[in-house]
């Protein structure tokens, strides 16, 4: 997920009215994202096969094989950015998909339902000449479907439905990325028998996935090309982590929200020099800010950790809300633990196993003890005072274990607040509840400091 939905900023009556000081260098990412979608919309004209996929960041496999790819979550976000998510969700609801289902899935499935005939009929409540309809019509249908979801069972079922919507005719491949439960005596982060077994299991499936692509494109898979693509991805991932680490500085030069808008490059954009250029730019701006003592938030007083999936309808809104109480959200589970987080595992001569291992360590895919241990390390490293727990209503993969995370935070002397929202369904978000809870949290942190 990577596209930002620009909506009105936080209410001026909240806090001191300050806005987030967002990185300027991330604007380059917006251009890359638009280029990606434009190129995707031309894919069929250019004779490319199109893969619809969901789950983890497997596009380097597609890029290396010269096929186009559509990430379902990103497409849902794209529609949201164009204010097109509501008709898509409505189309899903009209067919009977319950609103408690994953809202990414509802948006994606709903969009698939919006075909030209139905638009012409006007049965979906959206005119054929509506610009939103035009956007929806551009998406090329799949020649292949690939599912590769760590942890989340809902993700697999979502693609089953996509497969069925297209008449059960599109070839489909599922990569199973099993949970690292961590129950065996030698279990730990990146170690133990289970880790080794699962790494081999996912590696083998990814190799099978390349054979599946060979079969349906009629072309041999080029692993040298994969190494080349991964060279850019690895370099970009290293730069990203270096830039993130610079944000241990006070004030923090960038915030969680800057990292949120930087997810696209490491999630689904093509692995080329642009990725490297993007993170070089981000890192350079962060270094400049440190040199100038410039923070992502004016007069930073509190440092927070954001837990849970992003509320994509509220990126700018939330960035300003925290800035308005002088709180910098310095890190998050989704941004700081989820994308190419261990680039050194990738051996460019033979990258598949390292890629599999990065997919396996999606934080949710660890049992809670190991995942929470890693969260604690990040909180210590970034000097976090409190935790913002976004209970994303339809994303159970992320809301699982949040009470345990909050408990761990409290044990470590950190405040924690919960607010309810969702990934792509704005109706679950209640602004006033967050306002009240955030004010109370700020007061508690002040009291804690006075008492210290």
């Amino acid at each position: 997920m990577l596209q930002v939905v620009e909506r009105p900023s936080a209410s001026p009556v909240f806090g001191n009215g300050e806005k987030a000081n967002r990185l300027r260098s991330t604007k380059f990412g917006g251009r890359l994202v638009n280029d990606y979608w434009d190129s995707l919309f031309r894919a069929k004209e250019e004779g490319k096969k199109v893969i619809w996929y969901n789950g983890t960041y497997i596009p380097p496999f597609f890029h290396a094989h010269d096929v186009a790819w559509v990430h379902g979550e990103a497409w849902s976000a794209y529609l949201a950015a164009k204010h097109g998510e509501l008709p898509a969700q409505k189309a899903g609801e009209q067919r009977g998909y319950d609103r408690e289902l994953c809202s990414y899935a509802r948006t994606h499935i709903g969009q698939a339902l919006i075909d030209l005939d139905k638009l012409k009929d006007g049965t979906l409540g959206i005119d054929a000449d509506d610009p939103r309809a035009e956007t929806m019509r551009k998406l090329p249908p799949p020649d292949m479907i690939i599912n590769a979801y760590p942890y989340c069972s809902s993700g697999q079922q979502w693609d089953d439905i996509t497969y069925r919507l297209f008449g059960k005719k599109v070839p489909m491949f599922t990569v199973q990325i099993p949970l690292l439960w961590g129950g065996r005596p030698d279990a730990g982060y990146l170690r133990g028998e289970e880790w080794n077994e699962r790494s081999t299991y996912v590696t083998n499936q990814l190799i099978e996935m390349t054979k599946f692509m060979e079969e349906h494109t009629g072309r041999k898979y080029d692993f040298d090309r994969l190494s080349e693509v991964m060279g850019y991805v690895k370099k970009a991932a290293q730069l990203r982590i270096e830039a993130m680490d610079l944000c241990t500085a006070t004030p923090s030069p960038a915030s969680f929200f800057d990292w949120i808008v930087s997810i696209a490059p490491v999630n689904f954009l093509p692995g080329d020099q642009n990725l490297v250029t993007y993170f070089e730019g981000v890192k350079a701006e962060i270094q400049d800010r440190i040199a100038n003592g410039e923070g992502a938030v004016k007069d930073e007083k509190y440092r927070l950790f954001f837990d849970g999936m992003m509320n994509w309808n509220k990126v700018g809104w939330l960035a300003d809300k925290f800035a308005a109480v002088n709180a910098c959200v310095v890190a998050g589970r989704y941004t700081h633990m989820s994308f190419w987080q261990e680039p050194e595992l990738i051996d460019l001569k033979s990258p598949v196993r390292g890629m599999a291992q990065n997919y396996l360590i999606c934080p949710n895919n660890h049992g809670a003890p190991i995942m929470i241990g890693e969260i604690e390390k990040i909180c210590d490293k970034f000097g976090v005072d409190g935790m913002i727990m976004h209970a994303s209503r339809t994303c159970r993969g992320m809301s699982n274990s949040q009470f345990l995370i909050a408990e761990s935070a409290k044990r470590n002397g950190r405040q924690a607040l919960f607010f309810e929202g969702d990934v792509a369904d704005e109706s679950f978000y209640k602004d006033e509840l967050l306002n009240t809870r955030l004010e109370a949290m700020i007061e508690s942190m002040d009291a804690q400091r006075r008492a210290a």
Partner: protein
């Protein structure tokens, strides 16, 4: 018949009480299993009483501190029971399912009941993958090893085969009851049928099997009544509340068949008694979907709606009631296709969303009565 049914209903109503008594009497281990596709035979062969962990009927109280209210009633209830200390009787929990909510529940139990061993190895959910067999065999082998470590002794293949035979016998007798119910050869209410299956998920299999044999021997034909023959579908992890089942029958229906987990879904498939048990478990697991499709498993060529239409026809049912557990994502994904297929085929369908908390039965009654009227009219018109 009544005496046997009363005993089974008592166990079904208070499964953990039964487990406590059994443990006290035998001094042996009790091992909890999570649904949905998991064999109890291995734990039985290890000398333990395997029980499928059930939702209970208590309101969620202390559990609220560890689970959101937008999780299904089964998961919220299990967490609540764990935090209330109800699982003290369990010596371990075993499971292999990948339901994202259940994985979260297991972690909450691990954190709050740290002395409880939880043996989890995720089963392959892509049943038609080329590697599915070898992966599933590996998973069962791993579970076998972990179970041996837990009980401190090897578990022999012959012991496992003996457990498989016993479980097959038990399932076979319940399938016979299902067949008799379809044919009207036994007067069993939906509540009673649920008690039969639910108690089998909990009781000592030898004891339960003996009771089933007695029940079949005492079977009485169901008197013919002018009622609507109903098929029940859904509730893939736990039992629907008996009050809803009663309501269906009070409103002029008779449940003749189902694909409920605490129903036919639990008993439809036997495990091979002859071959190596790991292979037998793996075959059983990987071929289940071909018999009764489950929306949590990926398998091309299987359509739940086609299965249901066929099953409704075979049972000579006049309509189907879907019992959908609120917040059950797999069911929510597949419901629209089922609805459309039933509409296309003119088979009356009613969907009821169920919750852990008390439900407005009067409002449900009106909907069920309307459904019965529609089903009757369609039957007359046909």
């Amino acid at each position: 018949m009544e005496a046997v049914l009363s005993l089974l209903e008592e166990v079904a109503a208070q499964p953990l009480d039964y487990a406590r008594r059994w443990k006290q009497e035998t001094g042996k281990r009790v091992i909890g299993l999570f649904p949905m596709h998991f064999p109890g035979e291995l734990a039985h062969a290890a000398g333990a009483l395997p029980i499928i962990i059930q939702e209970d009927d208590k309101p969620i109280t202390v559990g609220q501190s560890n689970v959101f209210n937008f999780y299904c009633g089964y998961n919220r209830s299990v967490i609540d029971q764990a935090l209330r200390g109800e699982f003290e009787v369990l010596d371990a929990i075993l499971f292999g399912d990948h339901c994202v909510q259940l994985l979260g529940t297991a972690d909450v139990i691990r954190a709050n009941v740290p002395e409880m061993p939880i043996l989890f190895n995720q089963l392959c959910s892509t049943l038609d993958a080329s590697w599915a067999m070898s992966e599933t065999q590996g998973t069962f082998r791993q579970l076998w090893r972990e179970l041996e470590a837990l009980v401190g002794r090897p578990i022999g293949e012959d012991e496992v085969r003996a457990s498989i035979r016993l479980f097959n016998r038990n399932r076979g007798l319940m399938r016979r009851l299902y067949d008799m119910r379809r044919r009207g050869q036994i007067a069993l209410t939906a509540r009673q049928m649920q008690a039969i299956v639910k108690s089998s998920m909990v009781m000592d299999k030898t004891q339960h099997t003996a009771l089933l044999e007695k029940l079949i021997a005492q079977a009485e034909n169901r008197p013919r009544r002018d009622v609507v023959r109903v098929f029940l579908s859904g509730h893939m992890c736990h039992a629907p509340k008996p009050a809803i089942l009663d309501l269906v029958e009070e409103c002029g229906g008779i449940v003749v068949d189902d694909d409920l987990y605490t129903g036919y879904r639990y008993i439809f498939a036997d495990i091979d008694e002859a071959g190596p048990p790991v292979d037998a478990f793996s075959n059983w697991y990987l071929t289940r979907n071909r018999q009764v499709p489950c929306p949590t498993r990926a398998m091309k060529g299987m359509d739940w709606e086609d299965y249901l239409l066929n099953a409704v026809g075979k049972a000579d049912a006049q309509g189907m009631i879907i019992l959908m557990v609120k917040f059950c994502e797999p069911h929510m994904y597949f419901y629209p296709e089922i609805k459309e297929a039933f509409e296309r085929n003119g088979v009356p369908l009613l969907m009821l969303e169920t919750e852990h908390e008390e439900m407005p039965l009067e409002a449900l009654k009106t909907r069920i009565e309307t459904f019965m009227e529609i089903a009757k009219r369609r039957a007359v018109a046909a």
